[in-house]
């Protein structure tokens, strides 16, 4: 391509100087990794004074900024807890969610978020080469700690992904119970796979398939922007689809929130079973009272429960085996395994064109044994992880079956603690709440719903409820 001799300017008179300078360079930089670089041309010999310009090095976001974010996260969670649990203010939660959407979403552009931090923690635990930054660890733990004491206040208004979906809930519909049951397995699969992929250093899939990051950055690859647009469009009818049916962090928050000491409650006093809150939750996370329902034969129930308990080990082993069978195709997502597969495929079939990866591998001079050992290690870890992931999913499936088939008696309307986002929509629907009047202005949908409930025959059990509602309307 190039004719080096055509460069007449670099004449021979510099040969001696170049040798001297080269030696100088080599002696100076022998410690660096790039000492082997070929200096084809000598350093110039300027006749006038010349200072080498500095290579500028713009600094990344400072450590202080990261700590400010941790502080702001804690502050936002505290305010959200106060608004949800103590003030019961939907309006407050709404404005906080707008602020958090703007700050954590559009200004901070979404990284690192607690959802993605799951993977940093997993990588930090399993990969000794990666030390998790303290701020990222705090981003992972703080929302969980809040959920353990105060419910999922993180979901209510602090999470930017939740906030952007919460804004588009316009015509929420109730999905069939069986469908939501089936879909609620997805977050567990997503969580398990994300941990497995992070732990084997294969990739951060939660971040990779984050549907909203493109909006926050006002930039992004077309497929992901379409994915985000799809989530937002379906979110008009199916309230917060990502949060309910995909979010892996929601699984962890749910586990915590289930045992929360304080949690947002529908009613500030005693529930009068007026049913007004029934339709207030766009997510269908309000559990209805079930004391009046017919109970099934105790013996049938116990028998079924016995079968289900006996099935759990079967489900765990079956799930583990499926995970084990899936581990080989899953491991192809790992760059090392993929490269090893390509190299072997090219050896078997000489007609295959070498790819950029295999060409690079050959030019880097890594021995084939080394590559295959590395790939085999990833495969074996993936296999182990496959067993664990499958077993975990089998266990979750079994526990879900048991949960469906057992019913705890409940005499009031209660939020479903493990899933409730603490958005406080239901609060102002309760006639015992101070804010109730603002929701039931004549002409509003809630008002007509309340009036229809006041029609004769609508209240089956409680007369006090009817009286309460009548006195308040």
């Amino acid at each position: 391509m190039f004719e080096l001799s055509s460069d007449k300017v670099m004449s021979k008179r510099f040969a001696l100087i170049s040798l001297v300078i080269l030696t100088y360079f080599m002696s100076n930089f022998a410690t660096t990794s790039l000492a082997e670089d070929v200096m084809r041309f000598p350093a110039p010999e300027f006749s006038t004074a010349y200072d080498f310009p500095d290579t500028t090095i713009p600094a990344p976001t400072t450590q202080t900024a990261q700590w400010i974010d941790v502080f702001l996260l804690t502050l936002a969670l505290s305010v959200a807890s106060w608004l949800a649990v103590k003030k019961r203010s939907r309006r407050g939660i709404f404005w906080l969610s707008i602020i958090c959407l703007i700050y954590f979403g559009f200004i901070k552009q979404g990284c690192v978020c607690p959802i993605g931090s799951i993977q940093n923690v997993a990588l930090g635990i399993f990969d000794s080469n990666y030390a998790i930054p303290m701020t990222v660890l705090l981003f992972f733990i703080i929302p969980l700690a809040f959920a353990l004491f105060l419910g999922r206040v993180f979901c209510s208004s602090v999470c930017a992904l939740g906030a952007i979906q919460d804004l588009v809930i316009l015509k929420p519909i109730n999905l069939p119970k069986k469908l939501t049951m089936a879909l609620s397995m997805i977050p567990y699969i997503y969580l398990g796979s994300a941990i497995l992929f992070a732990a084997t250093n294969t990739g951060f899939i939660i971040c990779r398939y984050d549907p909203f990051i493109g909006f926050f950055r006002l930039n992004g690859n077309a497929p992901y922007l379409y994915l985000g647009a799809g989530f937002l469009l379906s979110g008009v009818f199916i309230a917060r689809p990502y949060c309910r049916f995909f979010c892996p962090y929601g699984v962890l928050l749910g586990w915590m929130s289930q045992f929360s000491r304080w949690h947002l409650a529908i009613t500030p006093t005693e529930c009068v079973d007026c049913r007004l809150c029934e339709a207030s939750c766009p997510f269908d996370y309000i559990d209805k009272p079930n004391t009046g329902l017919d109970r099934e034969n105790r013996e049938t129930g116990v028998h079924r429960l016995g079968y289900l308990f006996a099935m759990i080990p079967v489900l765990v082993i079956l799930g583990g085996w499926i995970g084990h069978r899936m581990s080989v195709p899953m491991s192809s997502y790992n760059n090392t395994v993929f490269l090893a597969e390509q190299v072997i495929a090219e050896q078997m079939d000489s007609a295959l064109e070498p790819t950029l990866q295999t060409e690079t591998y050959r030019s880097m001079g890594m021995s084939e044994d080394e590559l295959l050992t590395k790939a085999a290690l990833v495969r074996s870890r993936m296999n182990m992880g496959g067993w664990l992931l499958g077993g975990f999913l089998g266990l979750i499936f079994g526990v879900k079956l048991i949960k469906i088939s057992t019913v705890r008696s409940r005499k009031d309307y209660e939020v479903h603690r493990s899933t409730c986002f603490s958005c406080a929509r239901c609060c102002s629907y309760c006639p015992s709440d101070e804010m109730w009047k603002s929701n039931f202005v004549p002409g509003s949908e809630a008002y007509s719903q309340a009036m229809s409930l006041l029609e004769p025959g609508k209240f089956s059990e409680s007369n006090t409820a009817k009286e309460t509602v009548e006195s308040k309307v």
């Binding site: 790039l34 041309f41 990344p60």
Partner: protein, 203 residues
């Protein structure tokens, strides 16, 4: 006003719940402690190790920022200040001028300034640079390899999952401490020791 006194302890389920809650709190604390033990206080950012880079063009196509946060940087002490710069001119360029048909850079991002006969200084205009590494490759193959790619942290948004790192064929991307965020050619890492000042050539 919500009841903040906590659940009624006489209830069996509530009692179990509280117990589990404490166990989880303890577990969370232990996980935090364990990970904190292995954690580092400084954050990490992404950077390219120029010694591994193979100039594959993924840096210009896969970044979430447009144009890419990866830019070419010039290592002045390494540069030969050639009049015929292989990173600047097309192979077989009709003439050695700044006309577009002579330039290798697709975005006219290299500035060529006359210094002293026969030397020319080459600067990267980072606003224009898209990180395609065409100049880097030419300079590595035929010159002193003074051009190389670096992540510029004023542009990089530091994605948790860098989409270029995922595609890099030579594993050149790595997480580096945020307080030493560049892997500069011929300047040892600050963490590794003292910075060596670039050699000065005065006549």
């Amino acid at each position: 006003m919500a009841d903040l006194k906590g659940p009624d302890k006489s209830n069996r389920f509530e009692f179990i719940k509280q117990g589990v809650s404490r166990v989880i709190a303890l577990g969370l604390g232990m996980l935090g402690g364990f990970t904190a033990f292995a954690s580092r206080r400084s954050n990490t950012v992404w950077q390219i190790d120029p010694s591994k880079c193979v100039q594959c063009e993924h840096c210009s196509t896969d970044c979430v920022v447009s144009p890419s946060a990866v830019k070419c940087v010039q290592s002045y002490p390494v540069c030969g200040y050639c009049q015929l710069c292989f990173g600047y001119f097309q192979p077989n360029a009709p003439e050695l001028t700044a006309a577009a048909e002579n330039q290798l850079c697709p975005t006219d991002a290299i500035e060529r300034i006359f210094v002293d006969d026969p030397y020319w200084e080459y600067n990267i205009e980072e606003d224009k640079c898209i990180g395609c590494a065409k100049c880097v490759q030419a300079c590595e193959m035929f010159g002193n390899a003074s051009f190389y790619l670096q992540v510029r942290h004023d542009v990089c948004v530091n994605c948790n999952n860098c989409s270029i790192a995922m595609q890099c064929p030579s594993d050149a991307w790595e997480r580096v401490p945020a307080d030493d965020p560049y892997i500069l050619k011929h300047i040892p890492r600050q963490t590794a020791g003292l910075r060596i000042a670039p050699p000065q050539f005065h006549v």
